[in-house]
């Protein structure tokens, strides 16, 4: 076998491949709790053809491949569990096309959310996309790969529901187009009216293919945005409040948070409601509808709209919102991880109580964050903890607390979002056996050599 580094260098150029310990160190870990594992090679392709050649090489030599965006998903999904090649996608960051009237954009597989946001603001100020509150370097392809949620998820579902087409490099090295783009020059649908094959890739963590292009639906961008925060001290009322709010169909985004510090937030649950409008009248009308919808909670003294100072408003309105990243380091020492199951909204109260109980028992800093997805069909509930990486004991406590949270979430009907390997294992064990077999069939057919991000969605549990 020819030296792999050399072969990779022939594909991407020397500058964009490394097997050096410095790179291996960085690409071995993410900001979460999963133990590090070094890759053998790191490679940064520029074109889809380069990806194809890398995949073919890996397939021939049976070397694992781990596609990587910004490595921000926190749950170890880009840690090369079995070594091999990390394909860092960041050089493939072109915005290929915007179809303004059909409201979609086609981007390369390494394009970041921040870049797309800046591009649209400059060139297409009437269009927007569903930006997640992760750091702006997070990539669009990876975010849909993990079924992320963003600012428009309350209205339109998971960010992956907003995909309008995919170009995939299959584990064989072949390129496959998914959706309308498979027979039309237009990328307006990822499936319908065809069989929706996007499900063979979205949610698989790169274990069935590499997204080289993704089309994303864009949405109207209203000229104004504003935020209201409804607070209640009764977590059991949160589902009803959300029901009323989503029933108005007037809201852009709904996030809920609760945390003991700073004091302004103590003891309460905060429902952050973003509204948009093209005119003052539209904005005011929507706000009135929202106030009216929650009037009974105000009358019963169970909740009210807090006054939000301008500086605080800015914090809640910025996209992405940086406060999550700020919380991520409250303990200092740079450790942050959350288990973020998707649950039905009714489960919010018990999950919030559980998180508080876990934080007390394990003496950890916590915050509850939840984002409503699709008009209350479900929500992402984050059991979030921060920890100091220099404090081994604190890391162990966090790990145990997160494990308990995961078990709890599963037992209360939740489904893991961007699960760690540990959570994937729990999910596979619990899953309907026929579904599990289908996953196995698909994976075996698409990736017979098991080179794609191995360890993930591994149906033979002992192979994990």
């Amino acid at each position: 076998m020819k030296d792999v580094t050399l072969s990779l260098a022939e594909v991407v150029g020397e500058k964009y491949v490394s097997s050096q310990p410095e790179e291996a160190y960085f690409y071995a870990r993410d900001p979460g709790l999963m133990p590090a594992h070094k890759p053998d090679y790191v490679v940064l392709p520029k074109t889809v053809e380069e990806i194809q050649r890398i995949v073919r090489l890996a397939n021939k030599e049976k070397i694992p491949i781990v596609p990587m965006g910004a490595g921000m998903s926190l749950s170890g999904l880009v840690i090369p569990l079995k070594g091999g090649i990390v394909i860092d996608m960041k050089r493939m960051n072109k915005i290929i096309e915007v179809n303004e009237k059909a409201r979609y954009v086609i981007v390369e597989g390494g394009t970041s959310h921040g870049l797309l946001k800046a591009y649209l603001e400059k060139r297409y100020p009437r269009l927007r996309h569903s930006i997640p509150d992760s750091p702006a370097t997070a990539t669009i392809a990876a975010n849909v790969m993990i079924h992320g949620q963003g600012r428009l998820s309350q209205q339109y579902g998971f960010n992956s529901d907003m995909v309008a087409g995919l170009e995939i490099v299959l584990p064989s090295g072949d390129i496959c187009k998914i959706g309308s783009c498979s027979l039309s020059p237009e990328w307006f649908s990822k499936g319908a009216p065809l069989p929706d094959l996007s499900g063979l890739f979205l949610g698989w963590f790169g274990a069935t293919g590499i997204i080289s292009k993704v089309a994303l639906k864009l949405y109207p961008k209203k000229r104004m945005r504003d935020v209201e925060i409804f607070v209640t001290d009764r977590e059991d009322l949160v589902p009803d409040i959300i029901y009323e709010l989503t029933h108005t169909e007037m809201v852009e985004d709904i996030n809920i948070f609760a945390q003991p510090l700073p004091m302004i937030f103590k003891d309460n649950h905060h429902i952050v409601i973003c509204v948009t409008g093209d005119t003052d009248e539209e904005l005011e009308f929507k706000k009135k509808m929202i106030f009216d919808a929650l009037d009974r909670f105000i009358k019963s003294k169970d909740g009210g709209f807090m006054s939000v100072a301008p500086a605080m408003k800015e914090t809640f309105l910025e996209m992405p919102q940086k406060s999550a990243s700020t919380f991520a380091d409250v303990t200092k020492g740079g450790g942050f991880e959350y288990s973020g199951p998707i649950i039905v909204v009714e489960r919010y109260p018990e999950c919030a109580r559980k998180l508080e109980e876990l934080a007390t028992r394990y003496a950890l800093k916590y915050n509850v964050t939840a984002r409503v997805i699709g008009r209350g069909h479900s929500m992402m509930f984050a059991f979030s903890f921060t920890f100091n990486r220099a404090d081994r004991d604190m890391m162990d406590r966090t790990k145990e607390a997160l494990h308990e949270a995961s078990e709890y979430a599963l037992a209360s009907g939740g489904v893991f979002w961007k699960p760690t390997i540990d959570e994937q294992r729990m999910a596979i064990e619990r899953m309907d056996p026929n579904t599990r077999n289908l996953i196995k069939m698909i994976k075996k057919d698409l990736d017979p050599n098991g080179i794609m991000n191995p360890g993930n969605w591994e149906v033979n549990v002992d192979e994990i």
């Binding site: 607070v231 302004i264 003891d267 009210g304 807090m306």
Partner: protein
């Protein structure tokens, strides 16, 4: 425990019952007003305890030295009648809890008190404050806690206010210039009403500004603009200082427009109403208030309380009126740039 000094006999013989008759939010004739007041005094059930929106107005309307609003607040608390949603009340009580994180300037005998309003750290600049800065205090430790009368909670005031006053005492200060008139009201109205001793001389910053502007008289360039003044609820606790608004405006050469909602008839900024009662009341009050400013041709809306400024600044700006804090307006008159941007 501190108890409210309230003279029932004053009410029995009151010729006007102005406290409730003048109330802008309840509609009572004199006989009914007296009846309800007596019910409140006796600890009975009065609809006033349910319907009062905590504008503080009656504290000013009573010219006989009684404290009708403090009494209403006491009775509400005794009966467990909430004014605001529980979560909002808790939030405010938590915010004001002393945290040991206050800021002190170079403390002299005379100090500026910013209470717990961070805006003043930014606002208090320039020659107007040369005389006293950087002698200031800021933080929960120096926060008068009066706001809790909005939340029908005097026990928290009775618990915290003496400690706050003690913090001033420990600094050995003689004169405290209160930048938030709620603090001034607490030292000159609320504390005496409860028999809490105040060991320093409280000075309202309007008085300070007025005197300072007189000292800088030669440098004043009349601003020649028409302004509306947004009177805050806290000003009802110290109505004796209200004349300074007109006095200051005259000094700096601006025309205080004669509008409907001014003086005793002033309307609240609406932010408390929004939190406690929802959209309708807040919106109605804000709309009437701003329409009135526009109708009288005001170019500026001059604020006293930063919380009112937060609540109304964007709204008045959208109607073509520039929001400005009174300190910034005075600074403009002596040729300085305002600190808080005029939107």
């Amino acid at each position: 425990m501190f108890t409210l000094k309230f003279d029932e006999n004053l009410c029995k013989t009151c010729p006007t019952c102005d406290c409730l008759v003048k109330c802008q939010y309840l509609d009572l004739e004199i006989d009914e007003a007296r009846k309800e007041m007596m019910k409140i005094i006796k600890g009975g059930d009065s609809f006033v305890l349910q319907d009062c929106v905590t504008c503080y107005g009656c504290e000013e309307y009573c010219k006989r030295g009684n404290h009708p609003f403090y009494l209403i607040t006491e009775r509400r608390e005794e009966k467990g009648i909430l004014t605001a949603p529980r979560a909002i009340t808790k939030q405010w009580i938590n915010i004001g809890e002393p945290r040991g994180k206050y800021k002190l300037g170079e403390i002299k005998e005379k100090i500026l008190s910013f209470g717990f309003m961070p805006e003043f750290l930014e606002l208090v600049q320039g020659r107007l404050f040369d005389d006293v800065m950087p002698s200031y205090v800021f933080g929960q430790e120096f926060f008068c806690n009066v706001v809790y009368i909005h939340f029908a909670n005097t026990s928290i005031i009775k618990e915290r206010l003496p400690l706050v006053i003690d913090n001033f005492r420990k600094l050995g200060v003689q004169e405290v210039v209160c930048l938030h008139d709620e603090c001034y009201g607490s030292f000159t109205s609320l504390a005496p009403a409860y028999g809490i001793e105040v060991p320093f001389k409280p000075i309202h910053y309007f008085e300070y500004l007025y005197n300072r502007l007189q000292e800088l008289g030669d440098e004043i360039r009349p601003l020649k603009s028409k302004v509306a003044y947004q009177r805050p609820c806290s000003s009802r606790l110290c109505p004796d200082t209200h004349h300074f608004v007109g006095d200051i405006m005259e000094l700096i050469g601006v025309d205080l427009v004669e509008r409907t909602y001014q003086g005793e008839n002033a309307l609240c900024c609406g932010s408390i109403f929004r939190m406690m009662y929802g959209y309708e009341l807040a919106n109605d009050v804000q709309k009437r208030n701003i329409d009135d400013m526009v109708g009288h041709g005001a170019e500026y809306c001059v604020f006293n309380c930063p919380a009112c400024l937060n609540a109304l600044a964007t709204k008045v700006a959208k109607r073509g009126i520039k929001p400005i804090h009174i300190i910034d307006l005075c600074r403009m008159a002596i040729g300085e740039k305002p600190e808080m941007e005029v939107v």
